[in-house]
């Protein structure tokens, strides 16, 4: 499966929609779930998403003074974890395409009193509005799936990564064990119902489940990263491949 930017339509869950409509449709989904987003994550992942996030942050190899982009950072979980690592000399930029999610994230960070080195940007991952070769680390967690043109997003991320920097992509992926895959299918079928109960919006979670199925598997995503210019790409399967963390490095600019 690859991106469909050439054709006039792209997938939105299992549906085919016009390319220019996808961003708005995804936007609606997140507008609707923004407030209860973290609670739903706990429900869907049985609380394990916290550990997975922590593990991803460990892979970032950040040090004080570095610059990090928390792309599609939404409710700011990652920014809060990055912030103490880069310290007052470093910078964390929380970017999201969705205003509601960014607002929730910003409020949360300010409420925790951690706003010192965190800035906020409303940005589209496909066309990042930064100076090239800026970030020591770009992290996109559970975000790439929702981007219309994934290859364009990877290319843009490559451009913004500083030489010597790295990109981390945490995303739902394909379970390695078929038996686990089946169990996961059954479990994830419950999410729209849980979503209906908690957020009052089952459709958004129906989209979530479908979009996970449509997302490229581990090897495909790795190839896309190599295509974008990243080197030494590797991935770590988490929970038997339900999620995967891809790590790519940029040694020189193209």
């Amino acid at each position: 499966m690859s991106n469909d930017s050439q054709s006039k339509t792209t997938h939105f869950g299992y549906r085919q929609v016009a390319v220019e409509d996808k961003a708005d449709l995804v936007g609606e989904v997140f507008h609707s779930v923004a407030k209860k987003y973290d609670l739903m994550n706990d429900v869907m992942s049985l609380g394990t998403h916290r550990i997975i996030k922590r593990f991803t942050v460990e892979l970032s190899a950040l040090r004080p003074g570095m610059k990090v982009l928390d792309l599609a950072g939404g409710t700011g979980d990652f920014s809060l974890l990055f912030s103490p690592l880069v310290g007052s000399q470093g910078q964390v930029i929380l970017a999201d395409i969705n205003e509601s999610m960014l607002r929730v994230g910003r409020d949360r960070i300010i409420d925790k009193g951690k706003s010192g080195n965190i800035s906020y940007t409303l940005a589209n991952a496909e066309q990042l509005p930064f100076t090239p070769d800026t970030f020591d680390c770009i992290c996109i967690a559970y975000g790439l799936r929702n981007v219309t043109d994934k290859q364009a997003a990877l290319n843009s991320m490559f451009e913004m990564t500083a030489p010597g920097g790295r990109v981390l992509i945490l995303e739902f992926s394909k379970p390695v064990n078929p038996l686990l895959g089946k169990a996961y299918d059954v479990y994830s079928a419950l999410w729209p119902k849980a979503g209906q109960l908690i957020t009052g919006d089952g459709e958004s979670y129906q989209y979530l489940v479908e979009s996970i199925r449509m997302h490229p598997d581990q090897e495909t995503l790795k190839q896309m990263m190599l295509e974008a210019g990243f080197e030494n790409c590797e991935y770590h399967n988490v929970m038997g491949g339900i999620c995967a963390i891809h790590v790519g490095h940029k040694t020189t600019s193209r």
Partner: protein
């Protein structure tokens, strides 16, 4: 752009273990930083090491722990990609010993290998040992000043009692062994003994010099 061959990476499928390790590190990190937040002096000392990374590599069991100083925050991780300023390699028991003792002279015997800035290790050790947590102030925030004072007094008097009891016990055992069971000689007896040994040594010395003198005189007569 160059396509890079896929790496043969044994860590590719590491899952449960690294998540577990990550969880444990996360818990230790929280505890450590909470302890630090109660000790402003140590926090300032730590901030002077900001940006430094100490990597502890335990060989049995195989574990990697990076301690990265981020201003006044200590971050723990198990990522090999983080470049360390000092790497300490050894087995678990030796590493724990190293952490708890001030003595760094026995490192060689314990099979600990240190590469990088060894001065950093001494600084880390010093900071860890001087960690002086102001728990009274923290406690008083939760239960108020008077109960905290009461708790402090109780703990203090319990401590005094323990100290006194230990001292008494030590004295009693000492008395029993020396005076009652007579397993060991008492201090005065020992002193007497040492004195008589000294006196004997002096007399032997005198005798020796007298013999030498007599010998040299008789040699002169002949």
């Amino acid at each position: 752009m160059s396509a890079i061959k896929p790496q043969a990476d044994s860590r590719r499928f590491f899952t449960v273990n690294s998540l577990l390790q990550s969880t444990i590190y996360s818990i230790i990190e929280t505890g450590l930083n909470q302890a630090l937040s109660l000790d402003p002096a140590t926090r300032k000392q730590i901030a002077m090491l900001s940006g430094k990374c100490m990597s502890i590599h335990c060989q049995s069991p195989d574990l990697l722990l990076n301690v990265l100083v981020c201003e006044q925050y200590l971050s723990l991780s198990g990522n090999e990609a983080l470049q360390a300023d000092i790497t300490i390699t050894g087995n678990a028991s030796a590493l724990i010993k190293l952490l708890l003792t001030r003595n760094t002279s026995s490192l060689k015997h314990d099979g600990i290998i240190i590469t990088g800035d060894a001065g950093l290790l001494t600084k880390f050790q010093k900071i860890l040992q001087n960690l002086d947590i102001d728990w009274e102030y923290q406690l008083s925030k939760f239960i108020g000043d008077i109960p905290t004072q009461f708790a402090h007094d109780s703990i203090h008097s319990a401590g005094q009692f323990a100290k006194k009891t230990r001292q008494n016990l030590q004295d009693d055992i000492d008395n029993y062994l020396h005076e009652e069971a007579r397993l060991f000689p008492s201090a005065t007896e020992l002193n007497d003994f040492y004195e008589s040994v000294d006196a004997l040594r002096l007399r032997v010395d005198r005798l020796n010099s007298r013999t030498l003198k007599l010998q040299s005189e008789s040699a002169a007569d002949i």
